[in-house]
């Protein structure tokens, strides 16, 4: 195995070739914030929370998909990155309709936690209040597009772990939204196995169990990584 050596926040790190900066940082116990990243499925670099500064690059690079290189010098927590991350979270809030006080995920929401982590106490951007809908046609689950941050975790877990590929992303730019089937009501999509992995994967309260009320959403996030490990490495322990 070829090993690459690099510096993250001044710390020397050695990791196998092909690993990402995010993996390397994790090995070195250097926290990099993520929202769309989910252990066990392909990274999507959709949320831009894990952007880092790499010496020699004029652009900020997403740590979840950028491979390490020999001699790389990475900064993960500069004032520029802190400011950028806060702005990014503000934009996520301003883009959708996030009303924590009545959300099923209140107190158990990665977006909410991220806002606290980056020190967001208000949004400098005006809220857009988009007109989005709620689909509760499924017998067990519902999706509230108002709370969706388009991380695409649901798309990836359903495709890569469950193998059902119920979810996709429709439209472009600000009109993007998650669709079930061929843009059918979720309850009418035959491919759905009602496994609930999308509920476990969703970082916010966008996908939830029906009947859940304020702050009642629970997730079994470890189950997803467990399934992947069990399948790929035949290790059946949690």
């Amino acid at each position: 195995m070829t090993v690459k050596t690099l510096k993250i926040d001044g710390k020397d790190v050695a990791i196998e070739r092909g690993a990402t900066i995010l993996q390397a940082a994790k090995e070195a116990s250097i926290p990099i914030p993520t929202l769309c990243f989910l252990e066990g499925v392909t990274p999507a670099a959709a949320c831009r929370m894990c952007l880092v500064e790499v010496e020699g690059s004029s652009k900020l690079l997403p740590a979840c998909v950028t491979e390490v290189a020999e001699g790389m010098v990475v900064q993960t927590n500069t004032p520029k990155l802190q400011e950028f991350r806060r702005m990014n979270v503000e934009l996520l809030f301003a883009e959708g309709n996030h009303v924590c006080s009545i959300c099923v995920a209140n107190g158990n929401c990665e977006l909410q936690d991220m806002a606290i982590t980056v020190g967001m106490d208000h949004s400098r951007f005006p809220y857009r209040f988009p007109d989005r809908h709620v689909d509760v046609s499924h017998e067990q689950f519902g999706i509230d597009h108002n709370r969706c941050i388009l991380c695409t975790r649901c798309v990836r877990v359903c495709d890569e772990i469950e193998g059902a590929h119920v979810w996709d992303v429709a439209q472009r730019g600000e009109h993007c939204f998650i669709v079930s089937g061929l843009h059918q009501p979720w309850g009418e999509v035959d491919a759905c196995t009602a496994c609930g992995k999308c509920v476990d994967a969703c970082p916010t309260g966008a996908i939830f169990r029906k009947g859940n009320t304020t702050g009642e959403k629970e997730r079994d996030r470890a189950k997803l990584a467990f399934l992947v490990t069990a399948r790929e490495k035949h290790q059946w322990t949690r």
């Binding site: 009545i102 709620v134 509760v136 519902g142 029906k210 859940n212 009320t213 304020t214």
Partner: protein, 474 residues
């Protein structure tokens, strides 16, 4: 002629209001209007949301009586699920409503209204508030504040937080009372009883002395009364059937179900207020004026069903020589209701069901149209939801207690103005008395128009030709 007087600090009512007083050619008061000038729009923006969220959303209408909305909404949700909730859930919801009525009434009496009685109508407005009360009578103020705290803490012990506890849900409640929570309530109940008995003694003494005349001026007129009563006509706050009685104590209608509210309640709209004017439909508008809330509940019931509260109810009726019809007696009724709530809480803490974890029933969308009712501290509260087959709201109607007292509040304002105003100047102290007339009803304007923040009370004196003669803001 027009002048503006700014009085600081701001008023002790909840929400935005304005009062216009109209004078005839002789300079006498011909009419008065109580305008509610705020708008919230909950009925509209809830459309499209899952009905399961409604308890959480509608509780946010108010920080003082969120429990009322939680209960009415959860009861409406029960009907959509078409489930009978477990007995433990019924008792736990009742316990929270009793705590809610206790804390809200304590707030109304001690924090908002008692400065008028204890410090005087014409005392310095700068100190005519709960802080003035603390300075003048610290022991009483502390007791009142702790009584409210008791109610708030019971809510927290049940629902995990004092305000907006998302604990009542369609099908029941999320969790039972903990043994530690139960013990806390048992330990604090004696002090709560002591405080309400102290306040009752004090207020009755004042009704015999310095507040004697107010009874005849502050909303003394005949109307109907509406409230929930139990199966045997007893005082009820959570379930039961609706009853209308008149000022002679006759039952006008009984055994009414909330499901049929369209048949007996009409809602009129006036262009000068965001607050609707509900009325008793068979008598038409505005003759179908009725009052709800503490006094109405005591007037419609045959008895309360607990020993000390029934004794106090009898004394209230004896003092009034029949049916108490003055809105000033709402304060008195509030104290009696606190006593009733404490007695009923005492009964409930001794019930093993309140510790039972079987407190939530589950179900799907089994009924598309549902109406829930409960007694909020200020009166009867209706939630009406229409959902699609998946449970998304298509239509929402909320009939709030304060709205139902709207006609009576207007009449009370007119009565007080006619009594005190003779000429084109607003006499000193009038503003406070007019406010106090409204305060009898402990209105929650934020709830009833489904607005946030505090807005000054605005009083206008309008001549027969429409000219504004005088204007007072606070």
């Amino acid at each position: 002629m027009t002048k503006t007087i700014v009085i600081d600090p701001v008023t002790r009512i909840e929400g935005h209001a304005k009062i216009s007083i109209f004078l005839d050619d002789a300079g006498e008061v011909s009419d008065a209007r109580f305008h509610v000038v705020e708008y919230r729009g909950f009925e509209k923006f809830c459309e499209g949301r899952p009905f399961t969220e409604m308890a959480g959303i509608t509780a946010r209408i108010c920080g003082i009586c969120p429990v009322s909305h939680l209960l009415a909404s959860a009861k409406t949700g029960d009907k959509i699920l078409a489930v009978k909730i477990p007995p433990a859930a019924d008792k736990l919801r009742r316990m929270m409503n009793l705590a809610q009525i206790t804390q809200s009434h304590a707030l109304s009496f001690f924090h908002l209204s008692s400065p008028d009685f204890l410090l005087g109508w014409d005392s310095d407005p700068a100190t005519r508030n709960v802080f003035g009360l603390i300075a003048a009578n610290p022991d009483l103020a502390r007791a009142g504040i702790r009584l409210r705290q008791f109610g708030q803490m019971v809510i927290e012990k049940l629902g995990g937080r004092k305000i907006h506890a998302a604990w009542t849900v369609p099908g029941g409640v999320r969790s039972p009372l903990s043994p530690e929570g139960r013990q806390w309530i048992v330990d604090r109940l004696p002090e709560a009883f002591e405080t309400v008995n102290l306040a009752l003694g004090l207020f009755k003494g004042m009704l015999d002395e310095q507040l004697k005349n107010e009874i005849n001026v502050f909303g003394e007129f005949p109307t109907l009364y509406m409230g929930l009563v139990g199966p045997n006509g007893e005082w009820e706050h959570y379930d039961g059937k609706l009853r209308f009685t008149d000022s002679q104590g006759n039952i006008v209608a009984d055994g009414l179900s909330e499901d049929d509210y369209h048949a007996f309640l009409g809602e009129a709209v006036e262009p000068w207020s965001y607050l609707k004017f509900p009325y008793y439909q068979p008598l038409g508008y505005p003759d179908g004026i009725y009052r709800v809330g503490p006094l109405a509940r005591l007037n419609v019931c045959d008895r309360i069903g607990t020993e000390a509260a029934d004794r106090e109810l009898q004394e209230l009726r004896d003092r009034a020589g029949g049916v108490p019809t003055s809105s000033f007696l709402y304060h008195y009724a509030r104290l009696i209701e606190i006593l009733a709530c404490l007695e009923k809480t005492q009964e409930l803490v001794d019930d093993p069901d309140v510790l039972s974890s079987r407190c939530r029933a589950h179900g799907g969308v089994n009924q598309l149209n549902a109406i829930g009712v409960s007694e909020a501290p200020r009166g009867t509260l209706f939630h009406h939801y229409q959902v699609d087959e998946n449970g998304l709201l298509e239509k929402v109607n909320l009939i709030i207690a304060t709205g139902q007292n709207n006609l009576a509040m207007n009449k009370t304002v007119a009565q007080i103005a006619k009594h005190y105003i003779h000429g084109t100047e607003i006499p000193e102290g009038l503003l406070n008395r007019v406010e106090a007339g409204i305060r009898c009803y402990d209105p929650c304007l934020s709830c009833s128009t489904h607005a946030a923040g505090q807005m000054p009370l605005h009083l206008q004196l309008v001549a027969a030709d429409g000219q504004i003669l005088d204007e007072v803001y606070r």
